[in-house]
Symmetry: C2
Subunit: 288 residues, 2 copies
Amino acid sequence: MGLDDSWFTEVDDDIKTAWSAKIRAKVYDRQTPYQHIEVFETEGLGYLMVIDGFTMVSTLENFLYHEMMAHPVLFTHQAPRQVAIIGGGDCGTLREVMRHPGVEHCVQIDIDEGVTEAARRFFPELCEANDDPRAELLFQDGIQWMKDAAPESLDVIIVDSTDPIGPGEVLFTPTFYRACHRALRPGGLIVQQSESPLAHMHILQRVRRGYREAGFDAVETLFFPQPIYPTGWWSATLGGKGQNPREFRETDARNKPFATRYYNADIHRGALAQPEFFREAMEKAEPA
Amino acid sequence: MGLDDSWFTEVDDDIKTAWSAKIRAKVYDRQTPYQHIEVFETEGLGYLMVIDGFTMVSTLENFLYHEMMAHPVLFTHQAPRQVAIIGGGDCGTLREVMRHPGVEHCVQIDIDEGVTEAARRFFPELCEANDDPRAELLFQDGIQWMKDAAPESLDVIIVDSTDPIGPGEVLFTPTFYRACHRALRPGGLIVQQSESPLAHMHILQRVRRGYREAGFDAVETLFFPQPIYPTGWWSATLGGKGQNPREFRETDARNKPFATRYYNADIHRGALAQPEFFREAMEKAEPA
């Protein structure tokens, strides 16, 4: 029943399951100052990028994650003009942000240029918007960048990070969330990927608690499929600074002037539906 | 990168990925006249039932599948009284059906009593409703049962089958769907699990086409997480005999007189949201 070495495998330590992809070849292998980046050519998913042994993106299904990190938060903000992406070095989220004509400037701050280098070579479709004059790519410490950001200078912050292990861990702390809250204008929103509702409820709760401690007055969790991450079911957590993340510009989403592969207004509404077990756990953890 | 023999692994041949669970022990192994049934005690999922090498249910997450096979179709029918489950030998769908007080009779027809025997031993919680006086368990050929059923005698048919491989294959044919259509009363509904929208679009399309050929005048696809099946993202297809499967008794679902762990009215509405790529593929395959 074992799998041989022609498979890439990632084990989830929380629920002791593993996900594997059949590999044709390893096409990229680089140790950067920050992390170990590998790219595999797979049999069924196209290319697969792996960082420190954790799957990041595949050609086949990255649209699910990138669309859900960008469009719900942007269609929730009333008029997003200034956007920052922390992490997101594969540039897939940036591409989705750039589809919104009202966005005037989007800065992507990833500590590791190696991720973008690998994306340019193996996921060029994700880097399509990198040369948009409204896009700015910085390779530096996102936490420091956020601390240094002018107060009330941003409309939307997208935290598109690795898991809360390694360099991504500081992005899951109240200190970072406070810096985000300070950098957002009134009516601003933050969104962060927050792992699997089935395997990692402690992380979902940590993000929600962290947002509240940082001053975000309304918090909502989005749910969506994520086939290459543990359990195949993922979440992102929205926080509003005087903006309710349940209310979105539904008519604008219905009439969006660009194509998507997963996202639409019905999907957005559906992603806000809270499973019963999640609703109950939140009521217990966050009594009204 | 390989996994040793302490893991159970299922490979998906469509997208060449694999899902594995860390095993403590194999606690059941039986070759029935129909199929090979195994039960494993796992590290993180509780028990795991495997039939002919394909994962069926685990203790941790079967609620997702069973609730989504039962409650959407039952809250779509105007007043379901007579229900038939084809397959469903683990009895988890039956348990969910029995939560609806209006259901007068639910017959479960699974060809293989071995599945129910294993469920009684290792998933006794799924068999809680087996002794309900409204429940009837038959172990015989579900296709023949459906052919012999009195015309217009059923309100809801739930096809809770294995994949369209092996004994389950005949449950994915127009011949079977025609027998179902004949057995349903006007206003009746069928629902069948129809695999992963990311990996098995050919099966989703086959089910929809089969329903239409059999006379169902309205067809809808539901989407939901399914962590132990390939891609972690699953579908079920609803067909209506003079009943639009998009319209459900939303107020009744909001005021349901029983607890669930995943399903609620918002989840139901969200499960009906069609991803853009799916909507486009259906428009191409089924022009108006």
